[in-house]
Symmetry: D2
Subunit: 318 residues, 4 copies
């Protein structure tokens, strides 16, 4: 394999090479110390901290995994992409009158910025923006949770994706900052439905559990101009796939998004459950998971694995 | 590999088609009303407002232009890329201890964010970051202006690139907000040289005048993994070309960067002189110019032309 | 009457003179145009806007009124003083670990400042501070509303003081900004009780209705070093009376507190129902009411009446 | 009227008692450990840290001192009152269009608030406000420093008050945050004169050196409705004396102003040189000095001495 060949567009890896590469990176990641499991709710704090998984799914339909790649975990903010897709489908361009598409330059849960922007969240990847999206779903779908479940199950090709009830309830009980964001938006007239109902959907969605194998498969359409490479079904319009990738590029990795673009250079989304999904247009999806987080809330080992795969395979879009 | 393959497999445009496409887009742009010429200094306010130019330079060495593409204008913030390149070369990774690489989520001249971040600018494309970069140049080069001139002249292949002395002096006299940013960084210990000397370099650099033809040629190396496609000389390491493109993607278009990524999807930098340069990795550079600005400070017609070229040619990196 | 004599400590007004002075000021106030009745809830917006009342109660037990001084109105933020008194009594100095005593320099409902200060309100007169005080009452009194009612009825000498149920319910339904403040404090661990219960007490307390005659009598103890001049009962310690007056001086008039100190110079508290109560240490209390508010949320005519009485009688404490 | 009557009716202190009281308080203050001498410029950092002084000047012309009360020190921000007096005299009410009179709720050198308020400082006691006042002096007086010197020498009755040249120069060299404030105001059009000239006046004024004896005498007119009790000359109008006292009450003690009102209850101004001057209307002035500061920038021992004198003599205006 060489970087140059790869970036010329030809496949550079045979499956065996890919597996060996992923295995090497996975073993290196497992040696990384430090980081903290998310502890703001007990249900998340109890996860076995050393678990680690890496999956690479390419557009030719191959999927290679190492580690705990079949183990399901709380996908948390990664679920924001599912919500966004459904809201874009339902309300179209008018969505962008209620939420911007600009990077925030602020922590993911900043209430200061929301106040300045008069209740209009900076983008749908920060919490306020995702809560607004949840309001769209609750207001415009007769059964918003079912709509999400249908989408997710279709994308990952599994009928048994569920939300973790204990995580869901625990978030409800401890989610006072998110409640503050929702009430502030409501006070600006930017939430239509009942605040408690919106928060219920939002926390439920965050509590979905999936494995890296499922995540890699679910987001492959974003690398394939909107078409699922496994089912060949069009999931979203090509333009919308590019738009979602653009938002992930500027805003997907919390307040480390710029550094991630700088050092890795692909659209990605992370969650405090320790998962990260990276989309490589015209190539495939890398999904990584390990529960211990850096101080930005991104998985420490996950970041390492994504960065190494992207760098060694020359996957930067820039 | 060709861009055609990348964007879906079909050949899109022959050279003649390209000229016709640019001409069409240029004529449409000229019909756009509204916007305001930058008026914060008299020297900029006096430019003929209806001027308009568009250049597309591709990696095969072709360059196609329409409109006032040989007319030089004040490149303003586009010059920040030149400064950044020289600072990266001179101080390496240590640069990133003094300036971050995160999108700002704030106006380009925000002093609030600089205060919160204790004098560490969010990125080198906002004014504070570019002033920090100017401090590096003034402190580490024996003749910082000459260093910039040499680089620019080499990149655009012209020996007669100069700063406009009247713009330079006018900025010095009216640049109190930038002076505030510089003094605030100095108070945090993040400016080494004399503040007046740093500002002199910064304003001088912003006053450089170039045409869209020169800009397109100058930035072609960023689309070509660091190698100038005209001279075949390596300008920066491949990794640094990707890094600069990443910063442009998240932070190049002021507080419209997210929307630009969303709707256009390529790294770009704009200046209040009305110029915009967009880098399409593995394809080429689009440079546009027209003086009237929207309220973000981006050229109204310039934005239109860049977006149309990118969209019609399918150039989004996402 | 002369200013000098007054400020030398002697009574300068005979009762008849006082009545004539108040009548003159009242008539001038009624001629003032402009201002807007609080309209954020229907129940407040429906009040007859031209009503106007002025009462001066002095420490010798006299009380002189003009206008609609027996008409009860929604005292709103004036109630924050009653809540504060009960919280100070119940938890003593430890209260000041949970709320500061500094002027805010921000709108009364600023969520930005509350975020910066990590959920510790700047003072008990802004909404966040008063909600925190409500949390103390709800947590530490078996029947917090009864505790407030008992205090208020004792102070004003009337058994029929009530909260307006319609205003109370209307505030509950529209109080999303206050809910955001409460949830944000809860997320910082600075609210003990259930958020909904705290908000219920807070909104109920704001919905108390009293007349200027009742308000003037109720706050006379603050002008009399803690002793009610009518009943001769000590209400609070002398030091606490001074402390409450100090807080009113720096923070009682919303974001117009500094100007009020500058132009009037006495401790005072205002409410969006249009009431203002001013405490003149060692002299008495001025209570004014008229529903139309200036853009700070202070009664326009009320401000005029208080300022004129204080200025003409030379009552500034400075 | 006498102060004794005001504070409850009983005579409190004979002169001998006063000296004994001050001596007791002074000795207690000297036992207080902790705090830090201002170290942002070398010239201030070198002062002998254990020095301590206390002066009480009453309106009957008495002045009692203990400790290093004849020792001159850098009065720093206390000088803001002198500047304000001259600006009020020269431009009258129009001053308040360029600076507000509201407490800031922010650190004394906040640039964030100045940005929000579009270059209009919150009050003349924070740095931005005092720099604005310096602009008025520089613009409207032919020799602004002489104007200040004349005023100060008249007030304290000494011809040999000077600025410390070394402190002045040192502030100039290190005052980048103040320079940032000045340039930001200039960028908003709220500074008329040359920024360097304004800063030169401002830093010079801060470098004035006076003793507690001189300070107590200088500010006695503020306690006496504008008339100097020593010379019987009217210094400012009665209304202006009250207004200055009002500003000191809400904004004189940096971000500890509210707590100071709460616990002490008199108008006061402090400086980072360790001096504090407290004005007791109709009674006199307390001046204290000791160089070690608490984290708000107020003298630790100075605060103790002022509070004890005010509390034991019952001097709160509230």
């Amino acid at each position: 394999m060489t970087h140059d060949v790869m970036s010329g567009g030809q496949p550079i890896q045979q499956p065996d090479d890919t597996r060996a590469l992923l295995e090497t990176i996975y073993q290196q990641a497992r040696a990384i110390e430090g980081g903290e499991v998310a502890s703001y709710i007990p249900a998340l704090a109890e996860v076995a901290p050393e678990q680690c998984a890496l999956t690479l799914a390419t557009l030719d339909g191959q999927s290679v995994s190492v580690g705990d790649a079949a183990q399901r975990f709380s996908i948390q903010s990664i679920s924001k992409i599912f919500g966004l897709m459904l809201a874009m489908e339902r309300v179209g361009e008018s969505l962008w009158e209620r939420v911007q598409m600009e990077p925030s330059g602020q922590p993911f849960n900043s209430i200061v910025q929301l106040e300045w922007e008069k209740g209009i969240p900076r983008n749908p990847m920060i919490n306020a923006g995702a809560i607004l999206v949840a309001d769209v779903l609750v207001s415009r779908y007769s059964a918003s949770k079912n709509a999400v479940l249908s989408l997710v199950r279709q994308l990952c090709g599994a009928d048994d994706v569920f939300a973790d009830g204990r995580v869901h309830q625990s978030e409800m009980a401890h989610g006072h900052r998110n409640a503050a964001l929702a009430h502030l938006m409501k006070s600006f007239g930017n939430i239509e439905a009942d605040v408690d109902e919106v928060l219920d959907h939002y926390f439920w969605q965050c509590a979905l559990t999936m494995s890296t194998q499922q995540l890699a498969r679910s987001f492959a359409f974003l690398a394939n101009r909107g078409v699922c490479p496994f089912s060949q079904k069009r999931i979203v319009a090509r333009r919308d796939a590019q738009r979602i990738n653009a938002i992930l590029s500027t805003s997907g990795m919390y307040d480390q998004s710029g550094e991630f673009a700088f050092t890795v250079g692909v659209p990605a989304k992370s969650g405090v459950g320790g998962g990260i999904v990276a989309v490589v247009p015209d190539y495939g999806v890398i999904a990584a998971w390990s529960p211990k987080l850096n101080h930005y809330g991104n998985s420490q080992r996950g970041l390492y694995m994504i960065r190494e795969v992207a760098t060694r395979l020359g996957l930067s879009v820039y």
